[in-house]
Symmetry: C2
Subunit: 161 residues, 2 copies
Amino acid sequence: MVILGVDPGSRLTGFGIVRKEGSSLIHIDNGLIKLNEKEPMTKRLVVLFREVQKIIKTFSPEILALENIFYSKNIQSTLKLGHARGSIIVAAGLLGLKIFEYTPLAVKQAITGYGGAGKEQIQKMIKTLLGLPQTAEENASDALAVAICHAHSEKINKLIP
Amino acid sequence: MVILGVDPGSRLTGFGIVRKEGSSLIHIDNGLIKLNEKEPMTKRLVVLFREVQKIIKTFSPEILALENIFYSKNIQSTLKLGHARGSIIVAAGLLGLKIFEYTPLAVKQAITGYGGAGKEQIQKMIKTLLGLPQTAEENASDALAVAICHAHSEKINKLIP
């Protein structure tokens, strides 16, 4: 099973792809989709949609995993994030992916075993878990984290008959 | 010039289409896109995307006009609205429409001449302005209002050299 994790942002969107084979997790790719904030919103959202579809067509994931959002600075930033998420969800939904959401706490617990881990700690754990040659960029690392969280939840789901 | 106004919602999205010919405004169509809240979010957003593209392909508007959002109950409802808006913006952006946003105040002023108008008053004004046989549904009426607001702004833009 191939899982695409995405960490959406209005400027930087991280993505991470892992393949689950039995009990092992194999890192396939990770990176950033960079949007030019000087471009109009419409153009940015169309670029995001196209880039996400390009990634899906390249790596054929069956699952898109995203983090839930519970905190935001203000309405405008929540709305911006909502626009980016809507664009990503539609891009994946049109290509038939199933979409799962996880709380930030569930993602942290899946990676480090507890909910109080800091950003750097998570980046290091992701590097170790997937045997990356170097630490992934922050947003890409967060995207890998939510993909791994989905892989672990699948395992748990299967353990419970 | 054909203008598509949209009033997005997570359950009911209103749309309204007007054509501007010289100084007159002609009503083309209006209606509601109804989403089933029992369906998963992904499916709803994909349906919304497809319905908006169907409307655009039917009526060939060059412009999408939307209201800005400045108030919301909470993060979850803002996020839902952001998802719907993102889906609509991408649907229109992929088909080459230009997208304009107007404040609720600008929309009210464009319809009634002042910012304190109530919902019913706006519905009645829309009916009169466009010579509708009956009052449009609330969300569809709001969608027509933002389309008219764009048509009026265009007129103002042209008056200023």
